[in-house]
Amino acid sequence: MSQKKGKRAPIHITLADIERAYKKVEEFQRLIERGKTPERIFKDMLRLIEVDK
């Protein structure tokens, strides 16, 4: 019940990583512009978790 102590991944960020992060943020913003709310997105994520289980 105590979490097994693993090892923290070292931080090595490439230009591709940061490009991808900007793209993902833009995708989220587009969803919001199309009328989805963060609450709705949260609920959709929850539904997917339950379906998957």
């Binding site: 019940m1 991944a9 990583d17 940061i18 943020v25 913003q29 963060p38 994520m45």
Partner: protein, 195 residues
């Protein structure tokens, strides 16, 4: 109405006056970020073993069970409902405990769903003992999406508190790399705000 297991846990916690916050990937939409996740992670602030036992009994009455024997010194335990499961953390992260300021800064997301302050959430990502590249990606996205609303002073304080300033500097260097290559103003802003 949200997922039955999550809603029940939140209802029981509210009835027993237990502070809760959603953590992990599921909390990301509260910070204007999203990605797929398979886990429901909730952290609760429990004061005593007696309170923890009462909470577990109350969950059991609602058909949410654990096969473990959680103790207040543990990091987390898993509970199972009819269709899904959730991990209930007794601290926000395996690397640090709750403190009063962290509890005070908990934010309402919607309904009775609460999340940590964004700076504390970043800390849970950076400090966890099994930190992965997914956690670093999440931190990048959170910084980009919230650069204007982040309390940079509080973030500095927390990074120092948990001894992760040098790790965060590595993340900030990525924005320098981006600015040098793409001349993206958001990266410049982030670098300025970090100073």
């Amino acid at each position: 109405m949200i997922s039955s297991i999550l809603q029940t846990i939140l209802d029981v916690a509210t009835r027993h006056k237990i502070t809760t916050a959603i953590i992990g990937g599921l909390a990301l939409p509260a910070y204007n970020v999203a990605r797929t996740t398979l886990d429901i992670d909730i952290c609760i602030k429990i004061q005593s073993q007696k309170q923890l036992n009462t909470f577990i009994e109350a969950l059991k009455e609602k058909e949410i069970n654990t096969i473990q024997e959680p103790k207040i010194v543990h990091d987390l335990f898993t509970v199972f409902g009819k269709r899904s499961e959730a991990e209930i953390w007794l601290k926000p992260c395996d690397a640090f405990q709750w403190d009063d300021q962290m509890v005070e800064k908990i934010q309402l997301f919607f309904g009775d769903v609460h999340v940590l302050a964004i700076e504390d959430y970043i800390l849970t990502k950076l400090a966890r003992s099994d930190r992965s590249s997914v956690d670093i990606d999440d931190v990048l996205k959170i910084i980009i999406a919230n650069k204007d609303s982040l309390d940079w002073e509080y973030l500095h304080f927390r990074l120092k508190w948990v001894g992760l300033e040098s790790d965060f500097i590595e993340i900030i260097k990525a924005f320098e790399l981006d600015f040098n290559n793409n001349i993206r103003n958001i990266s410049r802003d982030i670098l300025d705000k970090f100073k």
